[in-house]
Amino acid sequence: VLLAAYLSYVGMGAGVLQALERPAEVQAAQHLLQQHWDLLGNHTCLQGPALQRLIEGIIQAYKSGITLQGNTTSLGKWDYSGSFFFSISAITTIGYGNLSPSTAAGRIFCIFFALIGIPLNLILLNEIGQLMLLGVQHCAHCLEKVFHWQKKASFLIKTCALVTGLLLFLLLPPLLFSDKEGWSYEEGFYYSFITLTTIGFGDYVIGMNPDRTYPGWYKNVISLWILFGMAWLALIIKFCISFLE
């Protein structure tokens, strides 16, 4: 029965996403193809195969994280701050993918790095989660002593904690993102959620816009946010699971 529910859930999601995304995709592809033919049309000395090779070359470069801009290429992504962020994305299993090792040695190192780093990360998140839980329970006890509310206090504190967590980790950060990254609120929320659940598509990644300047504290604060947010979300999901089971 569980298998059936699982499969049908995934199938349902697939159907909905298909309905939502397909038209936009077709439009984008057509648009690009149109441009392609326009370009060839306007410059008749341009040959099809040469253009083809150029396109393939650009795709290849893109997959290595390089985009061509103006007379140069985009800034290197494997500087220290970029590599640090990459390490985080690996051991938290977010795995954005906008940056990924292209050398064989880098990949092998990545595997071993993750093999040890992921359990390490899980242990840390567990600790943070426990601390949060302890804090909440402590507050509940305090309230009980002061106001003699007993059951009410515990429930009140729990909802309070839930709401603060929601605010702090999911509802407020998008405001920061719309200021620093120029995303809409919805995009910021989408990014926050996708990151904290460790899905990490990589379609939105902070600090990747070459046209913007970011303050020095930005990436560090975001990393902290990711850590605590993940611990909080893990707690929430644990509760959901115990509810389901």
Partner: protein, 252 residues
């Protein structure tokens, strides 16, 4: 006193976590930087060569074209070939199903992702309920797998082995068969179906089963290759059992 040691433990944990990250970052940088530089030079050269050959083209038009091309690539549209490619959609049902699976398992390759606002919002809610469902599901599958191990253990016990030895042997058996079935054999399989090298296959298998899911390697995305119809379903089943196996390992 136990409080103090507990706090010390947490402090040590936090410190080691960050040290680990810092060390990893440095190593990655050392390994990848030079290769990246090489790629950049090649890309610039390629562009130069192209412009050399076709002097009619103004730089501005070229820039515009490349910008649009990059945007399309970011959206997962690879404009190689001609009109016929328009038929194969990234969002046909089997691909969408695969995508939904990557969301729920939190792998999240990213080669495919919702671009419409509606799609993104739906994705959020879909994951909110789907991830716990996925975890519960994997738990069940894991239990089934562990039953097999228990059966093996009982069989050995009847044969008169000591408990400790049994535990060790079953763990070893579990680990080695798992590695074989979920890491080594699939990589061979991918060598044939995707044309990857064996190490690339292992890399892909690891990155997928750990749910990191960079998306630099994804099944069924090589242009110009033909995949038999149940390929993706087979891969999905492999991912499912592999994830359950890994979850079990953690519990052990």
């Amino acid at each position: 006193r136990t409080m103090c040691s507990g706090k010390l433990q947490t402090g040590l944990l936090v410190a080691s976590y960050f040290v680990y990250l810092l060390v990893g970052a440095a190593v990655f940088q050392a390994l990848e930087r030079t290769a990246e530089k090489q790629e950049k030079i090649e890309a610039a050269q390629m562009k130069e060569a192209f412009l050399q050959n076709f002097t009619h083209l103004t730089v501005a038009e070229m820039e515009q074209f490349m910008k649009n091309l990059t945007k399309a690539i970011q959206n997962g549209v690879y404009p190689v070939g001609n009109e016929s490619q328009l038929e194969d959609s990234n969002w046909d049902f089997s691909n969408s199903f695969f995508f939904a699976g990557t969301v729920v398992s939190t792998i999240g390759y990213g080669t495919l992702h919702p671009k419409t606002t509606g799609g993104q919002i739906f994705c959020v809610f879909f994951a909110l309920f789907g991830i716990p469902l996925n975890i519960v599901f994997l738990h069940r599958v894991g239990k089934m797998l562990s039953l097999l191990c228990i059966k093996l253990g009982n069989y050995l016990y009847e044969k008169g082995m000591r408990k400790k030895k049994i535990k060790f042997l079953t763990l070893l058996f579990f680990l080695s068969t798992g590695i074989l079935v979920f890491l080594c054999l699939p990589s061979l399989f991918f060598q044939i179906t995707e044309g990857w090298s064996y190490s690339e296959g292992i890399y892909f298998a690891f990155i997928t089963l750990s749910t990191i899911g960079f998306g630099d390697y994804v099944v069924g995305k090589q242009p110009g290759r033909h995949y038999f119809s149940y390929y993706r379903t087979l891969v999905a089943i492999w991912i499912l059992f592999g994830l359950a196996w890994i979850a079990l390992l953690f519990n052990l």
